[in-house]
C-alpha cells in the first residue's frame, strides 16, 4: 500500500492496465508530451510512446467515434475529455453509435471515456458540469463516479476491463484534495455502492465529490447516527444497497452536485418512492444544484453548488420530522 492522491491513483490504474494489456491505449487532446490538462498521463509518453499516448486533433466526436472503431477491431481505448463538458461534442457517437451497438448488432464496444467533472473552482459554465445523467438516460452506457483514491484506481481498472462503453467521472475537485492508501497491485472495484459511514437514523445517498461534503456535514449532527451511502456506480445503479439503506435508516437525503432536474438522485428518489415507500419515515429530501448554468464568480458559484451547510440543514430538518 502507498499513499496516493485521487489523481495519482487514476494515473496508477491507467498505467498498470497499459503495462498489463497491449490493447489498452490512451487518446485525447494534449495528453502526450504535455501530459494532459490535469497531468493524469504525465510521463506516460516516455514509457509507452506516442502511439499509445495519442495526441488527437481537437475533435471530441472524433475521439469517441474512432475509439469505437478501434474497439470493435480489438483495442481497448481509454479516451480523455479535457473537461467532461466537452463530451457534449461527442454525444452522438456515444449515445447512438457506442450505446446501441451491442443491442442492435451483438458487438461489444469496450471503450472507457474519462470525464473530468464538477465545479467548485470558478471553472464557469463550460468547465464545471456534471453530465452523468445525460448518459444514464441512454441505454447501453455504464457510468461510474469514484469518491476516493482507492476506488478511483479500482473503478478505472474495472471500466477498462469491462466489455461495454464506460464513462469514468473523475471529479476535478478531488484530484489533489483527496488522498488515501492504495494497493500498488492492480485490482477491480465492483460497480456497486459502498457504505462510506455506517449509521441508522438517516442515510445520505450520494456519489463523487459530494460524498466528502456529506461526510463532513453529518460528522456531528447532535449525536444522530447518519449513514453515508456512496453509490460509486450510477449505471448499473445498486438498487439493493439503496433499498437496504432505506430499510435501515427510514430517512433519506439525496445529494447531487449535478443540476437537479432528472439528475442521478432523481432516479434514486423514484426508486425509493416505488419500492421503499413502506420503509420511509419522512419525505425524501433532495439537495442539488438548481437548474442553472454553473456561474463563474465565487459567490455565485458557491450559492448554487450544494455546500456542507446546505446538506447539514437538510439533515437537521429531516431528523426533526
Amino acid at each position: 500500500m502507498s499513499e496516493m492522491t485521487y489523481l495519482q491513483a487514476i494515473s496508477d490504474g491507467l498505467r498498470s492496465e497499459m503495462r498489463a494489456d497491449d490493447r489498452v491505449f490512451c487518446m485525447g487532446e494534449d495528453i502526450g508530451g504535455f501530459g494532459g490538462a490535469f497531468k493524469v498521463t504525465d510521463g506516460f509518453i516516455d514509457e509507452f510512446g506516442a502511439d499509445r499516448v495519442m495526441d488527437t486533433p481537437l475533435a471530441e466526436s472524433g475521439i469517441v467515434g474512432t475509439a469505437v472503431g478501434a474497439a470493435v477491431v480489438g483495442m481497448r481505448p481509454v479516451c480523455e475529455m479535457q473537461f467532461s463538458d466537452f463530451i457534449s461534442c461527442g454525444f452522438d457517437q456515444l449515445v447512438n453509435v457506442a450505446g446501441k451497438m451491442h443491442y442492435r448488432q451483438g458487438l461489444a464496444v469496450p471503450i472507457t471515456v474519462r470525464l473530468p467533472t464538477g465545479g467548485g473552482f470558478s471553472g464557469g459554465p463550460f468547465h464545471s458540469q456534471n453530465p452523468e445523467a445525460w448518459f444514464m438516460h441512454a441505454p447501453g452506457i455504464k457510468v461510474v463516479a469514484p469518491a476516493t483514491a482507492e476506488d478511483a484506481k479500482g473503478l478505472l481498472i474495472s471500466a477498462i476491463r469491462d466489455p461495454n462503453p464506460v464513462l469514468f467521472c473523475e471529479h476535478k475537485h478531488l484530484y489533489r484534495r483527496v488522498k488515501g492508501e492504495v494497493d500498488e497491485e492492480p485490482y477491480e472495484t465492483p460497480m456497486r455502492a459502498r457504505v462510506a459511514r455506517e449509521g441508522d437514523d438517516l442515510v445520505v445517498i450520494t456519489y463523487g465529490a459530494m460524498v466528502h461534503t456529506a461526510l463532513e456535514a453529518t460528522e456531528d449532527l447532535d449525536g444522530a447516527s447518519v449513514r453515508v451511502l456512496d453509490l460509486r456506480s450510477l449505471v448499473p445503479l445498486d438498487e439493493e444497497a439503496i433499498l437496504d439503506s432505506v430499510r435501515a435508516c427510514s430517512k433519506v437525503v439525496i445529494v447531487d452536485e449535478a443540476n437537479e432536474m432528472c439528475a442521478a438522485g432523481a432516479q434514486v428518489a423514484a426508486l425509493i418512492a416505488e419500492h421503499g415507500f413502506e420503509d420511509l419515515d419522512g419525505p425524501v429530501v433532495r439537495v442539488a444544484t438548481p437548474s442553472v448554468p454553473i456561474p463563474f464568480s465565487p459567490p455565485l458559484e458557491q450559492a448554487v453548488l450544494p455546500s456542507v451547510d446546505r446538506v447539514k440543514e437538510a439533515c437537521h430538518e429531516l431528523l426533526a420530522y
Binding site: 486533433p57 467515434g65 474497439a71 451491442h102 448488432q105
Partner: protein, 343 residues
C-alpha cells in the same frame, strides 16, 4: 495533388469470373430490393423501406476490391456490400421483415445492419457517423502495424455534417489506411446538390492531404478499380483516398417518397446509364450467357425469400435483453472476399 479520373473500361485485375460475380452481386441487390419493396406493400416489411436502386455498382465494386481481413462500415443503399461479405439473401429478407433470423434479429430494420462475424459494422441513422468508426478501425490497424484497410461509404448529404470533416482530417493527419467512398446520388432526401455544397466535395481530399478521385459510380469495374488502387495505396502506407462516385438515386428516399422534386428528364438520362445493363453488355461482348446469370440469381432470391418467410418473429420477452455485453468482448471477424486478387 491532381484529381485523377479512374479508367472506365475494364481492368487487368478482374478475371472473367470476377466480372460475372460483379454482375451477379448487382443483380442480387436489385432483385432482393425489388422483392422486398413488394413485401413492404404487402405489409410484411414493417416501418418504411429504403433501397439503392441505380447505385448497385458502388457497393458491389468497392466491397469486391477488399480483402477478408479488411473491415467495412456499410450504408443504407449498399446492400450488395453485405452480400459480397457473405450475408445470404434469406438473412437480408429476414432483416427487412423484422424476423428472428434477420441479421439483427429484429433489433433494427432495413439495411441498418452489419454482420460482425463478416467484418462489417452497420450504420446508424445519424450520417456520417460511420466515417469516424471506420477511421478508428484504420487507426487500430496502423497502431498494430497490420496490413489491413478500412472502408466506409457516405452520401452527398452527409458531407455537410461535422463528423465527415473530423474523420477525413483525422485520417489525413495520421495517414491512415482507409478508403472513403462518397456516393453522390444527386439528392439527400429532396435536397439537391446545389443546396448541399458550393464546391464538389472531391476537392476536399486535397486539403486533408490525400487524393480525391472522381469515378463514374454506375460503372462497377471503374468503382472496383478505383477502390483497388486506393487499397493498394493504403497498404503501402500512403494513407487515405477519397473516391467520389457520381450516381443517381433512382427511387425516392424511402417507399413513401414519390420524388416529385426530380425532373423526369434527369431520371431518364440516368436510366440509360443503368449499371446492371452496362455490365451485362460488357459480359455479352466476351461471350458470357447473361441470361443464365439472371436465372441463377432469380432462383437464389426466391429460395432466400422462402427461407425468410419461414423464420419466426422474435420473442417479445427478449426485447430487453442484450443491452450490455457480458464476458470477453467479441471483435469483428473476417468476411467473404470473392475477388480472385485477394483469395
Amino acid at each position: 495533388m491532381a484529381i485523377a479520373i479512374a479508367r472506365s473500361e475494364g481492368t487487368e485485375h478482374l478475371s472473367r469470373e470476377d466480372r460475372v460475380q460483379l454482375l451477379r452481386y448487382m443483380l442480387l441487390m436489385r432483385g432482393i430490393e425489388e422483392r422486398a419493396m413488394t413485401l413492404y406493400r404487402q405489409g410484411k416489411v414493417p416501418g418504411s423501406f429504403y433501397d439503392g436502386c441505380g447505385q448497385e455498382a458502388i457497393s458491389t465494386g468497392a466491397a469486391f476490391a477488399m480483402g477478408p481481413a479488411d473491415r467495412l462500415c456499410v450504408l443504407h443503399r449498399d446492400l450488395a456490400a453485405h452480400l459480397v461479405r457473405g450475408v445470404t439473401p434469406a438473412r437480408a429478407f429476414g432483416q427487412y421483415m423484422g424476423r428472428a433470423g434477420g441479421v439483427t434479429a429484429g433489433r433494427d430494420g432495413n439495411v441498418h445492419f452489419g454482420d460482425w462475424r463478416l467484418g462489417c459494422v452497420g450504420m446508424v441513422s445519424m450520417l456520417p457517423d460511420m466515417m469516424l468508426v471506420a477511421t478508428g478501425m484504420a487507426m487500430a490497424f496502423k497502431l498494430r502495424r497490420e496490413q489491413r484497410v478500412a472502408l466506409t461509404w457516405f452520401g452527398d448529404g452527409s458531407t455537410s455534417r461535422g463528423d465527415s470533416h473530423e474523420a477525413m482530417n483525422w485520417a489525413g493527419v495520421q495517414r491512415l489506411p482507409i478508403v472513403f467512398v462518397l456516393e453522390n446520388n444527386q439528392y439527400a432526401y429532396s435536397t439537391p446538390l446545389e443546396a448541399q455544397f458550393a464546391v464538389d466535395p472531391v476537392h476536399r481530399a486535397e486539403v486533408y492531404g490525400f487524393p480525391g478521385i472522381s469515378v463514374d459510380g454506375n460503372d462497377v469495374e471503374a468503382v472496383f478499380e478505383a477502390t483497388r488502387e486506393a487499397r493498394e495505396r493504403a497498404l503501402a502506407g500512403a494513407g487515405p483516398t477519397l473516391i467520389a462516385c457520381e450516381t443517381m438515386r433512382m427511387h425516392g428516399h424511402a417507399a413513401h417518397d414519390d420524388m416529385r422534386y426530380v425532373d423526369q428528364a434527369q431520371l431518364e438520362e440516368w436510366r440509360r446509364r443503368d449499371p446492371i445493363e452496362r455490365q451485362e453488355r460488357r459480359l455479352q461482348e466476351i461471350g458470357v450467357d447473361v441470361g443464365a446469370v439472371r436465372a441463377g440469381v432469380a432462383e437464389e432470391i426466391e429460395a432466400g425469400l422462402q427461407e425468410a418467410l419461414a423464420m419466426p418473429m422474435p420473442d417479445p420477452a427478449s426485447a430487453t435483453e442484450g443491452v450490455f455485453h457480458e464476458g470477453e468482448a467479441n471483435v469483428l471477424g473476417d468476411g467473404q472476399a470473392p475477388w480472385s486478387g485477394v483469395s
